[in-house]
Amino acid sequence: MLPILGTRHVRSGENEEPKKLTRRQLLIRAAVASSALTFAGALVKFASYLKTPPGPGRTVLTAREEEILTAVLLAMFPGAHGMPRADVDAIVPKIDDHLAHSDPDARLLTRTVLHVIEEQAIVFQGGRFTNLDPAKQAEVIREWELTSVYVKKLAFRSLKLLCGMMYAEQPEARAAMGWYLGCAPSHLQHLGKASVGV
């Protein structure tokens, strides 16, 4: 039993009137109990998420996870200031393939982060991440980026690296950044134009 719920051991022979709960105590207990129930429910729900089979055409990600990942990608890379929006049709299958070849811990971490992003938004934004409007989704992503909780920050960074890795391979994104890949034909053209000696 959780100590905070107020259970106390009554010694044999002790005849003590139970104390009445104050309103404040009652509220605290109700909050703790509902948190515990929510946590337990979340665990059960989370376990069921992980048992769900992959979505159509996917090896790892479920249809739900694909939906969350798509929303996360579009919140990270919405397309602005001359940069293109994330090409989710190309990126999601690549991430699924990457996860398929990763070890079970890496897969679990990525999937867990997706579900936590989705469900945690209910508490802080009043709705699931995928149901939020773009401005609120951007707020959620910002909160994850700037969190001072070290483990949370690292977990998000691993997802962010994966998303960024695939986004940076979009030719339009590269072109907008002015980033060219060395030794590729585009690079050799660049060298010719810039007359850089080698």
Binding site: A75, M83, M166, R174, G178, G182, V198
Partner: protein, 498 residues
């Protein structure tokens, strides 16, 4: 003579004088030395063998094909940092920046004083000469360096820090800036371009896609290995290969070699296998520049500044996704900042560590790598960041990210950038990167405190030799590839003479 999963399917058994596990810097150099001395050699490599034209210059592809554990290997401790390692014929030389240093004399003298006379500076010097000639080491040409390196040079010159262009084993380099993705021009002298072809010319058989599962031991002596042949695209086992040999040389790297020994409980009477891990903890940071720097253009790491004893600053470039990950750049404002990437100069710093880490068996057959950064090394990292900040401003940066903090606002002045970089900055506040793992099967005279004898043969298992960075008794403080190759040749000569 190279073989891979396509030609090694089914069950096979072959015989050689020596089987080498791992085709990286150590394995490649050892194979060439042994083969030239007339021994028959078989090399087994877990990863695939690629030709330069097969490298697509893609970070996503490289992570999946050229990095150990698909780039997910980390060091755990007070904080977590990435510990990259190479995979494939060429090992970590496939993904390094081709920087070449000889070990400082002070380090080699200390090793010699501890009874490793074969590694004394004067004994190792001719081997270094041989290595440099084989892998094509030359001083970096400034024309290949281009803007990022020249910008950092400007800062170093302004502060009188005595930096200089590094020596590299990249005789055909065209400065395309993506050494860490596999060199697509073939200009880098990774060992698959020199030592390994040399070994093959002398009869060595290279088997890629072969993950060694077990070292065979009979009557207390190593007599061969068993390997699983794995298709790299499907990750499916397609065959089994057994190599019977008079000697087994482990060159699977600082993580891979102790893992093989720990899985079988071999060569570990001292309980030192996996212990004494040294890395070069590294940090990096960025400065905004008015003119386009295009940090991805030119050699990624061409200029180095010896800031103080044990702290070496080196230029580098980070691909956009890595940069994006370390900064809070998402959403519309993040998109605006990503367009500024071409105006960002980058420099890093590594420290020669005295901290101790450990490689242990982890879950799912992976290594669990732990490491405790000492206060001295943490302070060195902070001083490295302070040094980089000063160099960036001296070179003309207009804003600098000091390497700690959330990155929302970069410092507009040098004093603002230096202000938070005090000795009480915690490890978790920095973006630490673990480079150059060394020392998990250290060489030593005392069998109770080391794994490998001065010859390179393990103290406990006759016929079992080690020839990679795990041999190193202490941290080097400089990029280690040439020392790994030189020590491997030293070991190979002892083996051939045994």
């Amino acid at each position: 003579m190279a073989k891979d999963a396509k030609s090694l399917n089914g069950t096979r058994r072959i015989k050689a004088d020596v089987v080498i596990v791992g085709a990286g810097a150590g394995g490649g150099a050892a194979a060439a030395e042994l083969a030239q001395r007339g021994l028959s050699v078989v090399m087994l490599e877990e990863g695939h063998r690629y030709r330069p034209r097969e490298f697509p210059a893609s970070y996503g592809w490289a992570i999946n094909h050229l990095y150990a554990e698909r780039g997910t290997r980390i060091v755990e401790g007070e904080s977590y940092y990435p510990l990259p390692g190479g995979r494939g014929v060429g090992g970590s030389t496939l993904i390094n920046s081709a920087i070449c240093y000889r070990a400082p004399d002070a380090i080699l003298d200390a090793w010699a004083d501890a009874g490793l006379e074969g590694l004394a500076p004067e004994r190792l010097a001719p081997i270094y000469d041989l290595v440099e000639a084989t892998i094509g080491v030359t001083e970096m040409h400034p024309l290949q360096a281009r803007a990022n390196n020249l910008f950092i040079k400007r800062g170093s010159d302004a502060l009188g820090l005595g930096g200089g262009f590094v020596h590299r084993n990249a005789p055909g380099c065209v400065g395309c800036g993506i050494c860490y993705l596999g060199c697509p021009s073939g200009g880098k002298g990774s060992v698959d371009r020199n030592f390994i072809p040399l070994a093959e010319e002398h009869g060595t058989e290279v088997c890629a896609d072969c993950k060694v599962a077990r070292i065979l031991v009979r009557d207390g002596r190593a007599v061969g290995v068993e390997a699983r042949v794995v298709d790299q695209e499907t990750s499916e086992e397609v065959g089994r290969l057994t190599v019977d040999a008079d000697a087994v040389v482990l060159a699977a790297g600082t993580v891979g070699t102790p893992m093989l020994l720990l899985e079988q409980g071999l060569a570990n009477r001292s309980d030192q296998v996996g212990r004494n891990l040294a890395i070069h903890p590294a940090v990096g940071t960025y400065g905004m520049v008015d003119d386009a720097i295009n940090s991805w253009d030119g050699v990624p790491q061409a200029y180095a500044i010896p800031l103080e004893k044990g702290v070496l600053l080196q230029t580098y470039n980070a691909p956009p996704e890595v940069f994006f990950t370390t900064q809070p750049w998402s959403g519309a404002d993040g998109m605006r900042k990503m367009r500024m990437l071409k105006n960002i100069a980058m420099c890093g710093g590594l420290v020669s560590d005295g901290s101790n880490g450990r490689v242990q068996l982890g879950r799912h057959g992976k290594a669990k790598v732990t490491y405790a950064l000492s206060t001295r090394d943490r302070h060195r990292l902070i001083r490295a960041l302070r040094g980089i900040v000063r160099v960036l401003y001296a070179a003309g940066a207009t804003e600098v990210y000091p390497g700690i903090g959330d990155g929302v606002d970069w410092a507009k002045t040098e004093s603002d950038a230096l202000a938070p970089l005090t000795p009480d900055v915690e490890e978790r506040e920095m973006n630490v990167y673990a480079s150059h793992p060394m020392g998990t099967c250290r060489m030593g005279v005392d069998a109770a405190r080391s794994v490998v004898a001065p010859s390179g043969e393990t103290h406990d298992v006759p016929g079992l030799w080690i020839a990679d960075a795990s041999l190193m008794p202490s941290s080097l403080g400089v990029n280690p590839q040439m020392t790994v190759m030189s020590m491997a040749i030293h070991v190979a000569r002892n083996l051939a003479a045994a």
